[in-house]
């Protein structure tokens, strides 16, 4: 194969086309690197930091870093696993995530990762922040309690003029993703469903579609997240 370079992940020799992002290159080699803010096909943002790996002593996000020849990537070390688990716990305690009552349970990537990393009780104190639920749009409910600010909706849900339906508001720990009230009025069902699908958690819900697929039959009810990638 032309253009293929050799690199290693936890000592395992891997091959991929030069310039491929590490997370994708790993997938091609049967190595699962957990992600939340990343989506194949869109410009990566490196927001959730879950996919952090160690390269040459430095922590890098594998969704934004292209592989180069000879790169030695540390992915499954105790340190990295602990870091990822910490981040998952941070996301849980900084919002209000009640899995048993959530419409996305079983399809939620955050929940699936928490299971994968065997999160029991988060080491951080729950913040129980007071957050809004915006149900003013005709088709969509935007629940700030469950938002993990991954920007997937901001980056993918746009109208034909390229304007974003969703945008950040404020900064720091007050940061929220809001739905543009004007544009929401004319949003079509197809776009609304795509927004719900692209949301890794249960922050964007299409009204009356929350339980369309019965709980127990959903994606991560069948097998743990990453199973389709991991070869061992």
């Amino acid at each position: 194969m032309d253009n293929q370079i050799i690199f290693t992940i936890d000592g395992k020799e891997c091959r991929a086309a030069a310039g491929t992002y590490i997370v994708e290159a790993a997938r091609q080699n049967g190595v699962f690197i957990p992600t939340l803010c990343n989506m194949p096909g869109i410009t990566p943002k490196g927001a959730c930091r879950i996919c952090t790996v160690r390269i040459n002593g430095r922590l890098m996000t594998s969704c934004t870093t292209p592989v180069i020849a000879g790169m030695e990537i540390e992915n499954n070390s105790p340190e990295i696993r602990e870091l990822r688990k910490s981040i998952i716990e941070l996301l849980f305690v900084s919002g209000n995530h009640f899995c048993p009552a959530c419409e996305k349970s079983g399809d939620c990537e955050l929940q699936a990762l928490a299971y994968l990393f065997q999160m029991m009780v988060p080491r951080f104190p729950y913040q129980f922040p007071v957050k809004e639920i915006d149900a003013s749009a005709p088709l969509i409910v935007k629940d700030q309690n469950r938002c993990i600010l991954c920007k997937r909706c901001i980056r993918t849900i746009k109208d034909e003029q390229g304007r974003s339906y969703f945008a950040f508001e404020s900064r720091g720990n007050k940061l929220e993703v809001v739905l543009d009230k004007e544009m929401a009025k004319t949003m079509i069902a197809e776009t609304a469903e795509l927004a719900m699908k692209n949301c890794p958690v249960g922050s964007i819900l299409v009204k009356e579609k929350g339980f369309y697929q019965p709980i127990g039959t959903r994606k991560f009810d069948q097998q743990p997240i990453g199973s389709e990638i991991s070869t061992h």
């Binding site: 870091l83 900064r171 004007e182």
Partner: protein, 602 residues
Amino acid sequence: MEQNITQIIRRYGNDKARLLDMLIDLQEELGFIGTQAVELLADTLHMSHADINQTLSFYHFFSTEPRGKFTIYLNDSVVAHMFGRETIRKALEKEVGVSFGQVTADGLIGLFSTACIGMSDQEPAAIINNKVFTKLTPYRVKELVRHIRDGRPIEELATESYGDGKNPHPLLQSLVSSNIRRKGMVLSDEYDYGSVLSTKLPKMTPEKLIAEVKHSHIRGRGGAGFPTGFKWEFCRRAKGEKHYVICNADEGEPGTFKDRIILTEKPELVFEGMAIAGYAIGGDEGILYLRYEYRYMREYLEDVLQKMRKRHLLGKNIAGIEGFDFDIRIQFGAGAYVCGEESALIESMEGKRGEPRDKPPFPVERGYLNQPTIVNNVETFATIVRIVENGGEWFTQFGTEDSTGTKILSISGDCLFPGIYEVNWGFTIADMLDMVGAYEVQAVQVGGPSGTLIGPDEFYRTLGYSDLSTGGSIIIFGRQRNLLKDVVLNFMNFFIDESCGSCSTCRIMPLMMRDKLVKLLDGNGVAQDLDELQQWGTVLLASRCGLGQTAGNPVISSLKNFRYLYEELLQKDVEFDQGFDLQAAVQESCDYVGRVPVFSHH
């Protein structure tokens, strides 16, 4: 109103990359940015309302509601607190009659807090309608408020004489003092402005120029310390339609104010340095990104640029070099510490929220408007002029082997002579304290909140990239200070306020660490809390930018060097933290039913 708004948008060519400028003008000319402005912006720029609001809601100095005909921003930095900020706050609230965050019913005066405004050598200080008032006292507050109520315009609120140096300049008329207490090559008065541009560059190729800069081993003066010559070389080699030179004058690290002095006293040197960089990288345009706190310098700096254009030091065919076209414009920020990070600064210049970019690619390849861009600190540009004038070899005789040249320090806190000191790298902390008249010192914060807090047993250490690195902020704390309560807590709150919020780690973790610190300060801590603080801090290292990676430093570095202060706070003979007080939690219901549960079941 509608006409004003449309006019402002048109002023910037209806270009959405200039959204920040439009918002600044709207805020200044209308006093706030309301729904109508957002709608007109959205329609003209073909963006959603939420998208406009995304930029608008990010910056501290923008507001969707009026903030008063006179808006008072009182500095909230640690040094301000050390010099009586609380007293000034109370005096303001009493005289004005509203709390901070509010505006008087007649809309005359609004009171707001703001992060370090770069006046640590003359605190407490406040910005009122872009004019800086320093060394405030309760009497002065009373007088200021009375004069405002009497209807005096902002220009007539001053009762003191102008500051030293260039501050009395007709276009500055500033009450701020420069307080230069030690001069070196950069602050020296011996340089003849423009001589490098007009006599050296015509005899030098850009390659030779970059070689000189590399030979000098100068590293970035903003704090990160990247070798300047390499940055320029990478940028020169990068392909693009245009190349940009950006001067980072967003000095927001609490305790830093040296760029304020360089831009007040030596702006010609900075602009000349930018033009030299333009020649080196094949740059077309220079942009000075100036923090909004220094808005008062605007006309003065514009005038300096105009004079340089008249002398053909900017413009077309500079110094008679065919094809060397370069000019500089000033871009203001709007209140965001994170914009001092070079890629966040570039995002901000493009009219977006100041969110750092993922790297690679670095700005030298894809920076402003996706074109090759160098971003250098104010001090770096000023220093470059002297390097090109005297040669790279000459420069290496100053400082140490790995940290060549001089460094301009902003020194504040508990010392007799706060101000600006230009020293050779390699200076020890002990010498520095003797230099500024600091006695009975408990601790020194080197490099601002994102740097290191050290105690007397480490005062032998030296300033330099391989030991104590600093962008210039030095804050001294005397014996009387409560380091954890007054310093570390203030710094943690600063990082919480200033996070852009993009990375999960930096958005949430500083909050967790702050809450734990408060728990300790409240006397509820156990030994395990200290271990947890240390562990939790490491998670921040996975953040995208320097702000996030260092946001835990106030706790981490004080825990390392002043562990005994933490240990003193721990509960005696309590090993395990139950997490909450059961007795207090059921107190209300016990009172109601008139019974008390037995807690000691076995």
